[in-house]
């Protein structure tokens, strides 16, 4: 790490903090302008006005709005979003319990996106305008035009029809219970606890939801990788390598791929926002029972505190993912380290 990279990362970090601030302001305003009293919602129609008033005071709703916002922000920083208006339990505890499920799904999706998207893009670029390229471009078009919920339904149907014993709902076989591992990621916990059967079952359950979620990302990454590879192929330094007799394979994988990996990584960062959104749908179809399912449920039930937590955490996901990607890009691309910015 040198000064340029650190400056670059610091600048990005400031940007990301402001993202979260604006997001918090938006969701707060939204949650407070809606007609309907959260205290009344939490207590139900049978509660007396007196009880509602006490609840309002307890929830801090009798304070002026700016004070409420500061309280909300302070709570959010400490990870405290109050109690769910529906279940009455602590929102943060509820969400934390569900986070590993979604995390596992998202990580698997990202892995699939890179595992398929980049090599296929390289393939398309190498066989540009030949049949392999044409086929891949058509496939990527399908990937872009297919909404995640349709992909999920179709894959589920495929599994149910053609792979008789393949599990299509949930994260794990019921008979295995829910092993309490240290990470909450079932695939990893299975290994840590010395239960390969758990890991295997978890991977089986994971395959189709992750595939459904990754389709559009694979298509996007493939497209970007292809065009980046083609663009770099024309450059002088690549021509020079070739004219020195460096084998095509080495040029492609050691030089071109490194140059061309910045664009797909950037796209992955932007894609992350829609990935979080699509996780809502995919988790619903596969009864995944993660953070996104919880979010959808709390939105449908107008559980304001839970909604605020879900929206803020979605934003945090996005920000953290992009920060990680920026570090990666900074490590790959020396130009960024030198200039300390784009």
């Amino acid at each position: 790490m040198n000064a340029g990279l650190i400056e670059f990362l610091l600048r990005r970090a400031v940007g990301f903090v402001s993202v979260l601030l604006v997001l918090s302001l938006m969701i707060f305003v939204l949650a407070r302008v809606v007609p309907g009293d959260p205290a009344r919602m939490a207590l139900g129609p049978a509660a007396s006005q007196d009880q509602v008033d006490r609840m309002r005071a307890q929830m801090g709703l009798d304070e002026p709005l700016p004070v409420q916002y500061v309280n909300f922000l302070g709570g959010a920083v400490r990870g405290d979003f109050g109690t769910s208006l529906i279940s009455g339990r602590d929102v943060t505890t509820e969400v934390l319990g569900l986070l590993p499920a979604t995390l596992e799904l998202v990580l698997a999706t990202l892995a699939l996106m890179l595992l398929f998207g980049v090599p296929l893009g390289v393939l398309a670029a190498r066989y540009r305008n030949r049949w392999a390229d044409t086929v891949l471009r058509l496939v990527s078009l399908v990937g872009v035009t297919m909404p995640a919920f349709l992909a999920a339904i179709l894959l589920q149907l495929f599994a149910a029809y053609f792979l008789m014993d393949w599990p299509i709902l949930g994260r794990l076989d019921r008979s295995m219970g829910m092993p309490a591992g240290p990470t909450g990621l079932l695939t990893i916990d299975g290994l840590l606890l010395g239960r390969p059967d758990v890991t295997l079952s978890a991977l089986q359950h994971l395959a189709f939801p992750a595939l459904a979620l990754s389709l559009s990302g694979i298509a996007q990454i493939m497209r970007i990788t292809r065009s980046a590879m083609i663009e770099h192929q024309r450059r002088d330094h690549v021509q020079t390598l070739r004219s020195f007799g460096v084998p095509g394979r080495v040029v492609t994988f050691r030089y071109l791929l490194k140059l061309s990996s910045v664009a797909p990584l950037t796209i992955m960062g932007l894609e992350f926002a829609s990935l979080i959104g699509n996780a809502f749908v995919v988790e619903m179809v596969f009864a995944w029972g993660g953070f996104a399912s919880y979010g959808l449920e709390s939105i449908l039930q107008k559980d304001l505190n839970a909604i605020m937590a879900v929206v803020m955490l979605s934003g945090l996901f996005f920000v953290v993912a992009n920060l990680a990607i920026d570090v990666l890009i900074g490590l790959i691309d020396p130009r960024l380290r030198m200039k300390g910015g784009r």
Binding site: G15, F16, S18, V19, V22, L23, M26, I27, L30, A31, V34, L141, V144, T145, M146, P147, A148, F149, L150, I153, L154, L157, A160, Y161, L270, A273, S274, I276, G277, N278, F280, V281, M284, G295, L296, I299, L300, K302, L304, I307, V310, V311, S314, G315, F318, V319, N322
Partner: protein, 295 residues
């Protein structure tokens, strides 16, 4: 207009206008032409739905239990749904809702985004800093999560879905227009216009904006496909249009309950979504090649 001249030795060299060149390039791209035809057919369906669908009444609250869950046949090309309504008819009507959403969102998002992008690119300085900063912040908000939250906290219906999507959608246009406007603003002809005493308004709308039309039109076409998907996703989750209004997303959700036996309940609306988004995507790709811009 270029006229067909014989290519003799002293035939004058033809200079084609930029517009004509672009059209020729578009016409020679079969994918773009197919996309354009698909989009036109969708627009045709939207405009003439009551006249071209076999059962226009089925777009509403019709119950025909005798015909429920009928498989695709000559009478019902895509079969019927759980209360016996013709799915083909409802898919065509579903296009209406999809396109309404597209027009509603883009009608707000494109002008707002373009205006902010222009201002940021042209004025520079603090304006640029504020607008690009705000745009980048808004870009980072997961759109579906926000649309779900906004739509449902307010009230889940088409108008609120539109508001929720438009609230975030302008950012993409702001970013694109900003990039073009910034590079155009540095050109000499802008300086010349300024020296000639042209107002900011004149320069923004007459000198810079025409240079942004290409990116805006490509992005808008591709957006249409995204918004159709987005709207379908919202209503699939039960947060878009209310029944009995036919919407592609909620039809998929309805049909899903009867999988795998009554597969046509999902197939019809799925094909509808696929057809519309594919058309807009192909057309957008074609326009992108034609204008030779990066979006």
């Amino acid at each position: 207009m270029a006229t067909a001249e014989p290519h003799g030795a002293d035939a004058p060299v033809q200079i084609l206008s930029a517009r004509r060149m672009a059209w020729l390039r578009f016409r020679s791209n079969p994918v773009a032409v197919i996309g354009a035809l698909m989009v036109l057919s969708v627009l045709f369906c939207v405009a003439f739905a009551p006249w071209i669908t076999p059962y226009p009444a089925h777009s509403g609250n019709v119950l025909d239990f005798a015909n429920r869950h009928a498989a695709p046949s000559a009478d019902h090309w895509l079969g019927t749904d759980k209360v016996g309504r013709d799915i083909f008819t409802r898919v065509i009507y579903g296009f209406r809702i999809s396109l309404l959403l597209v027009v509603g969102v883009l009608g707000v998002a494109v002008p707002v985004g373009a205006a902010l992008g222009l201002a940021a690119g042209y004025f520079g300085g603090r304006t640029e800093f504020a607008i690009t900063g705000f745009t980048n912040v808004m870009l980072a908000i997961p759109p579906l999560v926000m649309a779900l939250a906004v739509g449902n906290i307010l009230n889940p219906n088409l108008i609120n879905a539109m508001i929720a999507i438009a609230l975030l959608w302008w950012t993409w246009h702001a970013r694109l227009v900003y990039r073009v406007a910034k590079s155009v603003a540095a050109e000499d002809f802008i300086e010349a216009a300024r020296l000639a005493g042209a107002s900011h308004w004149h320069i923004l709308t007459r000198e810079i904006l025409p240079n942004c039309v290409a990116v805006i039109s490509v992005k808008t076409t591709l957006d249409a496909a995204f918004i159709i998907l987005f709207g379908a996703t919202l209503s699939f989750l039960g947060l878009g249009v209310r029944p009995p209004t036919p919407d592609l997303g909620s039809m998929v959700a309805d049909g899903r309950q009867f999988l795998p036996e009554m597969w046509w309940g999902v197939l019809g609306p799925a094909l509808g979504i696929f057809y519309a988004t594919l058309g807009f995507n192909l057309l957008g790709d074609g326009l992108r090649d034609m204008f030779d811009v990066e979006v």
